[in-house]
């Protein structure tokens, strides 16, 4: 007799949790991060699902139902309308700087200047609202005309300098923000619909994200890759101080997440996605990693574990030389997904200590044969899956792939990955 969706849902959840906790599950779980493959699979362009939340839901539903992974990763859905409304300078998206059938790209830049560390450190909220947003979002440029945020303190007594908000520019900027908010809500609601509908079909979602290594926060959003690298040499003390500020509000965010985010909206598991990327092999020396990268990230990870979350780390890039650092993290509490690394070596270092995932390269799914995929899955299951603690995943977001290869990856793992 077939299992009910609810039974399947609980089974799949348990399978992933067992793997994370280093218990041996019934079989190797598969977690898929479909990216925009769902759009292509459903016969739509990426641009279509970027602008229509219902289509986005539909595309995801179809690919998840048809391929039936144990869990699907579904980070906040991005909207072309929101990007247009805020007139973002930091993204290119389908139809706007990127072809209609390709995914988003981030525009690297020094959005915070080298001499602005003191402003950011002294008052990060003010810096974000009155300097960062105006630079990165064209529609929000007028926010630089706002008074210092602390000047709003006397508003209740009629003493705050708010008349500037009556000006046409600021009215427009606030309007853009409201419009963007309404659109964002549409997409958040769509995401909740997807999570609920997939639950009703028996598929758990992994949807919680939004934290970063403090170094990445500075490097991605503020100083840019080049700027931050130069700061390691030219103003290391400021960089470290700014990262302390970022760490402080990251820890505050974790506290608030405990209270605010109901589990049922984001999938009933405690997984939370973080993708460290700018401390990978080659991007800094081990000495710089120890000084600038690891301490802040480790603090965030430990705080998450402490707060009852399961950090799902996606170690982007090459990590071979950094694997031993992961041994400093608590056993059986973290899911570590890898990108370009020898998975056998990862198993040697982390096996029995933490759950690991990865090993299916995009070249395999895009250009390999079904047999190639099965061979690779078999190798991974035999060696890296030994004694549990392994989840079959791709090495990066799956935006492009031959559908038959994705099917082979999931079906073969389901059949061959059984623990006897």
């Amino acid at each position: 007799m077939d299992k009910s969706p609810d039974e399947l849902y609980q089974e799949r959840l348990q399978r992933v949790e067992d793997a994370v906790q280093l218990k041996v599950p019934d079989r190797v779980p598969t977690v898929m991060t479909f990216g925009y493959l769902g759009a292509k699979y459903a016969g739509m362009t990426v641009e279509e699902v970027f602008y229509d939340p219902d289509k986005w839901v539909m595309a995801n539903q179809k690919i998840i139902t048809d391929f039936a992974p144990d869990m699907f990763q579904n980070n906040p859905a991005l909207s072309g309308t929101v990007f247009e409304t805020i007139d973002t300078r930091v993204m290119r998206w389908p139809g706007h700087g990127v072809s209609a059938n390709h995914s988003i790209q981030f525009v690297e830049g020094e959005y915070m200047k080298a001499d602005e560390y003191d402003s950011f450190i002294a008052d990060p909220a003010d810096y974000v609202v009155r300097t960062h947003l105006p630079r990165t979002c064209g529609a929000l440029a007028p926010l630089q005309k706002l008074p210092r945020l602390t000047d709003f303190l006397g508003l209740g007594e009629g003493r705050a300098p708010i008349s500037v908000l009556a000006g046409a520019e600021l009215v427009a900027a606030c309007g853009a923000l409201s419009q963007a908010a309404r659109e964002t809500k549409k997409w958040q609601d769509a995401r909740s619909v997807l999570v609920e509908e997939m639950k009703a079909k028996g598929f758990p979602a992994l949807s919680r994200a939004g934290l970063a290594a403090p170094f990445d926060y500075i490097s991605d959003f503020l100083r840019g890759m080049k700027g931050t690298m130069l700061d390691m040499y030219r103003q290391p003390a400021k960089l470290l101080e700014a990262m302390e500020v970022v760490l402080a509000f990251s820890l505050q965010k974790i506290e608030s997440m405990k209270k605010i985010e109901p589990m049922e909206k984001t999938g009933e598991n405690k997984l939370l996605f973080i993708a460290p990327h700018r401390g990978a092999d080659g991007f800094m020396s081990l000495k710089q990693f120890e000084q600038f990268y690891w301490p802040g990230l480790k603090a965030v990870i430990l705080a998450l574990v402490e707060a009852g979350f399961t950090p799902y780390m996606f170690w982007e890039g090459e990590y071979t030389s950094r694997l031993e650092y992961l041994l400093e993290l608590p056993e059986g509490k973290i899911l570590n997904r890898f990108d370009r690394v020898d998975m056998v070596r990862v198993k040697e270092v982390l096996g029995g200590h933490q759950c690991i995932a990865g090993g299916i390269m995009p070249s395999l799914l895009q250009t390999g044969t079904v047999q190639d995929v099965k061979d690779q899955c078999k190798k991974l299951i035999d060696v890296v899956g030994r004694d549990g603690g392994f989840i079959m995943m791709t090495s990066c977001e799956t935006d492009e792939a031959k559908p038959e290869n994705v099917k082979a990856m999931i079906d073969f793992t389901r059949e061959y990955g059984v623990y006897k």
């Binding site: 390709h102 690298m229 040499y233 800094m284 390269m361 070249s363 895009q366 090495s395 935006d399």
Partner: protein
């Protein structure tokens, strides 16, 4: 005590490097000699990168220091400071992809290893690669791409070079985020590299170096 510009640059001592350059210029020294010493310093940086002692931040920083030296010195040079007779290489990030950190690292390493690099930058359409080959007579082409969408763009670029009748005149290498041997085969390239050193190795091999 004589401060050796070559060593200071190799050690990335920015303030001291610029101080020494200023002093040497003020002393009336030949500007091209300063650029020559800078090149030697950069070669050491490149070597340390190849040896795994320096990483991307050091390349970026050395590039910044060199830029400042050039700004100081070049206005005082009389003409072109190009070394003649270097093998030419076209480098670019393929159409649809706007990543260039890796591209510029490879550019840097090829340059310090004696190649004349023509960098087409990001989001380079196939035709631009073809045109660059025709204009420069380059015998090597390097295609960079970070995203998985780049695989097809690389394939199309190789096909465009073939359609233009130039495929047998150039050797093509591919590299970037997710590029591996499978992608080299898929795109029809002659080689792939996991890092900038591989690019240098292949370029030297292909030019009989």
């Amino acid at each position: 005590m004589a401060f050796n510009l070559v060593e200071l640059l190799a050690e990335l001592r920015e303030e001291e490097v610029l101080k020494v350059c200023r002093e040497r210029l003020e002393a009336g020294e030949e500007p091209l000699k300063i650029l020559e010493d800078s090149r030697k310093g950069m070669e050491i940086v490149g070597k340390r990168f190849a040896d795994g002692e320096y990483f991307i931040p050091e390349l970026i920083f050395s590039g910044e220091i060199l830029k400042q030296i050039s700004e100081m010195v070049k206005p005082m040079t009389k003409g072109e400071d190009k070394i003649e007779g270097r093998a030419k290489i076209i480098l670019g990030t393929v159409a649809g992809d706007i990543h260039d950190i890796g591209l510029n690292i490879v550019d840097f390493m090829l340059d310090v290893n004696g190649f004349d690099v023509c960098n087409t930058g990001i989001d380079t359409p196939s035709q631009k690669f073809v045109d660059a080959i025709k204009e420069t007579g380059a015998t090597i082409v390097g295609l960079s791409g970070f995203l998985t969408l780049a695989f097809d763009a690389m394939k199309e670029t190789v096909e465009a070079i073939e359609a233009a009748g130039l495929r047998d005149k150039v050797k093509i290498m591919v590299g970037g985020g997710q590029v591996d041997e499978e992608i080299q085969k898929y795109t029809g390239a002659d080689g792939y590299g996991l890092d900038a050193m591989a690019a240098v190795r292949m370029a030297k091999e292909w030019t009989g170096g």
